[in-house]
């Protein structure tokens, strides 16, 4: 079954002064898949996600998200796509429910509908007990889960997750990845997942892209990348081996 394209970029480029953060990036993400977006620090992953959300103006090239140009129609893109930044921030002196209510009101969700939704989402991310705690007192893992509740409040078709497992303990990271998998499976949300957690990305991604120095050096399923780099062999290569191979070549 050939899935339809939900994200497409053509020669997307971003310069900061002299420095090039993203260079002629062209890639596609299919509807309904989990796309692992890999690359070392400073490779340009965050910049790419910001351009796809319409939060940063590309210096060149174009992007399409659900057929919309994020540069021209940022509001429409933001209505269907949720963005979870690398360091999610909250209003520390408000509790979890108040934080969620604010985001709901920004999304134009009616108050009575919002309360219902918030209850459901807090249950989903496992924060029901902490609903009335001030977010300032939350642990890293709790904040990350609250961040998920926030991006899910608008019922997104598409999620941009920027290194969601960073700073989490191994068990927390594993459970978060499983949670992302379940979102993709049960809610049919397309996920663009930037992460350094190669082992888990391999487990949940349908396809991956490797970005180094602003350029996408590889894109495809893990098997196809293994085939490309190591030739046809009996051994199953892990994503980590493939990634290191690409990394050494640049």
């Amino acid at each position: 079954m050939e899935a339809s394209t939900i994200i497409e970029t053509v020669n997307l480029t971003k310069h900061y002064n002299r420095q090039t953060a993203v260079k002629d990036l062209s890639f596609k993400v299919n509807e309904g898949e989990v796309f692992g977006f890999l690359g070392p620090n400073g490779a340009g992953k965050t910049t790419t996600l910001l351009m796809l959300m319409g939060l940063s103006h590309p210096s060149g090239g174009s992007a399409r998200v659900c057929g919309l140009d994020p540069l021209r129609k940022p509001i429409e893109v933001k209505r269907i796509a949720g963005y979870l930044p690398e360091n999610v921030g909250f209003y520390g002196d408000l509790d979890a429910v108040q934080n969620l209510k604010y985001v709901a009101s920004l999304n134009g969700i009616q108050t009575d509908k919002a309360s219902e939704k918030i209850d459901e989402l807090l249950d989903l991310v496992g924060l029901k007990q902490d609903a009335r705690k001030k977010v300032g007192a939350f642990s890293r893992g709790m904040k990350q889960r609250l961040g998920f509740a926030e991006v899910l409040i608008k019922d997104p078709k598409l999620l941009f997750l920027d290194e969601p497992t960073i700073g989490l303990d191994p068990d927390g990271a594993l459970r978060l990845m499983e949670f992302i998998k379940s979102l993709n499976r049960d809610r049919q949300i397309t996920v663009l997942l930037s992460s350094h957690n190669l082992y888990q990305v391999q487990k949940i991604s349908h396809r991956v892209g490797i970005m180094i120095h602003g350029e996408m050096v590889a894109e495809g399923t893990i098997e196809s990348l293994a085939k490309e780099k190591f030739g046809v062999g009996q051994k199953e290569y892990s994503l980590e081996e493939i990634y290191m191979k690409y990394f050494q070549e640049v």
Binding site: R79, N87, Y102, L106
Partner: protein
């Protein structure tokens, strides 16, 4: 619109539940209360003098009690309200990582800055109305005077000017909170600008005027030089929003011009002039006199806000 309303509501709630607002409000309310109370007591002791004035009610606001009148106090410390309300409005959200979250919601980016500004203006408005009402109540209770129609109108105009005056400082602090990433820097910059514009411009005006058109007070004064000196001084001091505001409010609240204006601004000619006001200026005339001041204040506020708006709209926000 829905984004603007959501931001506005949140910010307004934040203001009214924050300690800094409560402390500031308590301070300003207390000082205005005390100065008006003293003015009231003073008026009660001189009831026959009171009978001859046209606007006894306004004297509650304009007559200097122990140190300063309520009007003078707001001129000096009103800016602090504006500054304290918003000096960290944008850069705190940036530091906490909530700004990127805000703008990745389906709202126009200007909803954030407009909502914050309007919430600040609403807070200022509520605060000023509350203080004026409390003082009016005080006047009724202590002195037993009832405001006339014209006095109510004058207070209304006074409120409008004050709201714009404090909103100017609100816009300044929003501008600094956008321009400076560090909260401490924007706080310091706001305070520095406040001190500079409020205190040094009027002193600087004297220096500039005296150096361009020196007036020798020992010898026979040259009237042309004196006029030139005063003109220059007035021109320079009009750069200060505080001078604009004080002049405007004194004209409105104190139509007889009995109370002196800030001493540094009072030229010899003007002293002569103000004592000529035997009868109060009618309200329409008062407004006409202060129209340039009001326009300048509104323009300053709008320019300041427009600059912040433009910077905020083109700025790249990554956190």
């Amino acid at each position: 619109m829905q984004g603007l309303y959501a931001v506005f509501k949140k910010e307004l709630c934040d203001h009214f539940s924050s300690y800094r607002f409560v402390i500031l409000f308590a301070l300003i309310a207390m000082v205005s209360f005390i100065s008006s109370y003293m003015a009231g007591i003073h008026m009660k002791e001189n009831l026959e003098a009171l009978a001859s004035t046209r606007f006894p009610f306004l004297m509650l606001f304009s007559s200097t009690g122990a140190l300063f009148s309520m009007v003078q106090f707001v001129a000096f410390f009103g800016p602090l309200i504006g500054l304290v309300l918003a000096f960290d409005s944008i850069n705190r959200e940036r530091a906490d990582g909530t700004l990127i979250k805000l703008i990745s919601q389906p709202i126009y980016r200007d909803a954030v800055i407009n909502g914050k500004f309007l919430a600040g203006v609403a807070t200022i408005t509520i605060m000023l109305i509350a203080i004026v009402l409390v003082i009016s109540g005080l006047g009724l209770v202590i002195v037993g005077i009832v405001p006339g129609i014209e006095e109510i109108w004058r207070l209304f105009v006074y409120l409008i000017i004050s709201i714009f005056y404090i909103s100017f400082w609100l816009a300044v602090s929003i501008l600094f909170s956008i321009s400076f990433k560090s909260i401490a820097t924007s706080a310091l910059a706001s305070i520095a600008l406040w001190i500079f514009l409020s205190f040094f411009v009027s002193l600087g005006a004297n220096v500039v005027a005296d150096s361009i058109a020196p007036v020798d007070r020992q010898k026979e004064p040259n009237p042309e030089m004196i006029i030139k000196n005063i003109r220059i001084r007035e021109m320079v001091s009009l750069c200060s929003p505080m001078v604009l505001y004080s002049e405007a409010t004194q004209t409105i609240i104190d139509p007889m011009r009995k109370t002196t204006r800030s001493v540094v601004l009072m030229g010899p000619m003007e002293e002569l002039l103000s004592s000529r006001f035997q009868n109060p200026l009618p309200l329409g005339q008062s407004i006409l006199v202060i129209f340039p001041h009001m326009t300048a204040l509104v323009a300053l506020t709008l320019i300041c806000f427009a600059i912040s708006y433009v910077i905020f709209m083109v700025q790249e926000i990554r956190t």
